[in-house]
Amino acid sequence: MEIVVCVKPVPEAETRLRPDAAGTALDPEGVKYVLAGYDESAVEQALLLRESIPGSRVHVVACGPAPRTEEVLRAALALGCDVATWVDVPAASADEPLSAARALASAISPHSPDLVLCGKQAGDNEAGVVPAALGELLGVPDLSYVLDVRWNAGASRFSLKRASEAGLESWTVPAPCVLGLQQAWNDPRTAKLPAILKSRKAPIARVTPPSAAADPASSPRRFELPPPRTGAKMIEYKTADEAATRLVRALREEAKVLP
């Protein structure tokens, strides 16, 4: 089975966010880009499926500029992915989910994968658009908010769970399809040193999508940090009952978040 897993380079969680000089986007200066969040779950899921389906291969694909994109592909190779493709586009295209989806689709479709795994949303712009857009562009069904994917060879279908407002849904989905992964509760594996060293020298295929495919459909105007919260208003009290009365009064009359 050919399993493609899409990973996006995103700033590591501890990054101190700062707008760039134009004030339109995150200043990438000094930011460390990593394979993170839901994409880690997607990679973990891909590797688990490979272990359970003989003759499978995990192909990791990332779309974005150098050097960050190459770095996350090497991180995915170090975790055990078999081959890597770098879809070379400018940051503005990689950060606009529809253009990222078009660029990814152009790179993925020649491989006719049986399964495309994504994170349910990217850790930076949190769009949650790419999995469904990829489904449409590849002409296959998609489901997102997915966990715990298993392959049922007899039925030629994946069976999986999906977390929605209704609760934990069970689905079966035929291959080929695109799935957006929710956080896996089994901790994703970490890379071992020899694998990290090996991944540094692994070949990475570079492709450039047709330029129209990567044209962003929207443009960023402003990137702002919220005003710092002025610090909590501390509730003064002598007894717990008094604390409760004062807090509830503040929430009803001042903050107006309770009826």
Binding site: A13, A25, E126, G128, G139, A166, L168
Partner: protein, 328 residues
């Protein structure tokens, strides 16, 4: 220039989801008034649910009574939405901020060739374009984007838009057959739902109020304090990773970097220190309350209201006070 809009309605157990009313509110802002908004409802109960839009003042309700929309994955409705948008010639498609809405947005955008933004908290027409604001990086920053071109798809963020008043005319109902639904999209089959434990209240991601508990509770046997407070408020229950890692509560309740991101109207953190990995999942909540015995806990730096004290005394008193206020 204002654009006409199509809201893709979501039905939950035969009724219109709250998210759909909010989507109509957002669409009315882009279109200038509800009269520029059409609503698509698909599924067996679509016609009945259309009755809930009496006096909503929207232009029309397009009803597709076809069971494939109840059984099928969200992608099927996305196809219908793109077809309906093209047929009636709208410039904007708006969906609610649920998992369902978000899932539809990407496929509608790719199929209908529209620019797309999700998690939108503010929207305004701007010349020939649509300008949106949306939180990014777990609410640690906000971006403003301009979506150009003739077609725009928006998924709004829960609780960001008011539901419109119902004092307008009752819209006509147009019953139409389903669009051509591509066979592969009908392949996925839902085989069951384990509903969120009976009486467990709203789901974390879209609850208006979330009460979360942390290691300060000392053990699973005390977590009921958080659950009772949540129940008194009709709130969803969340937890820090310390709690889910220790197995006191399931991982699905975890709020934070490696759990769920929430942005309710009110977030109450009980016995949670406020590690950065927890904060990224909840800082975009509108009002944050922290209850912690340590006055220097970092949670107080992002909180709007703080109570320094022993949660084992404060939380039961708070639950009792809320029950009392609710009863009067």
């Amino acid at each position: 220039m204002t654009r006409t809009a199509l809201v893709v309605g979501e039905l939950s157990q035969g009724r219109l989801a709250g998210a759909t009313h909010e989507a109509i509110g957002a669409a009315a802002i882009v279109s200038g008034s509800p009269a520029g908004v059409s609503v698509l409802l698909a599924g067996r109960s679509a016609r009945t649910a259309a009755g809930e839009l009496a006096r909503s003042g929207v232009a029309r309700v397009v009803v597709v009574e076809d069971p494939r929309f109840d059984a099928g994955p969200p992608a099927v409705l996305a196809v219908q939405a793109a077809a309906t948008a093209a047929r009636i010639g709208v410039g904007v498609v708006v969906v609610g901020g649920t998992t369902f809405g978000r899932e539809i947005a990407g496929r509608v955008a790719a199929r209908w060739d529209g620019a797309v933004a999700t998690g939108v908290t503010e929207v305004a027409p701007e010349g020939e374009s649509v300008r949106v604001r949306r939180p990014v990086f777990g609410g640690r920053a906000t971006e403003t984007r301009v979506l150009g071109g003739p077609r725009v798809v928006l998924a709004i963020r829960p609780h960001a838009f008011p539901t419109p008043a119902s004092d307008g005319p009752t819209p006509p109902i147009e019953v139409v057959p389903a669009a051509d639904l591509p066979a592969p999209l009908l392949g996925p089959i839902r085989t069951g739902v384990e509903s969120a434990a009976a009486g467990a209240g709203p789901g974390l991601s879209d609850a208006a109020i979330v009460v979360s508990g942390g290691r300060g509770l000392r053990g699973p046997e005390n977590f009921h304090l958080v659950e009772e407070l949540a129940a008194s408020l009709g709130a969803a229950v969340g937890a820090s990773r310390a709690v889910t890692d220790a197995g006191w509560r399931p991982g699905s309740l975890q709020v934070g970097q490696t759990g769920k991101a929430v942005s309710p109207q009110l977030y109450i953190a009980v016995g949670i220190s406020g590690a950065i990995q927890h904060l990224v999942g909840m800082v975009s909540s509108r009002v944050i309350v922290a209850i912690n015995s340590d006055a220097s806990a970092p949670i107080f730096r992002v909180a709007d209201y703080g109570v320094v004290g022993d949660l084992f005394e404060i939380v039961p008193a708070l639950t009792a006070e809320i029950r009392r206020v609710r009863a009067t």
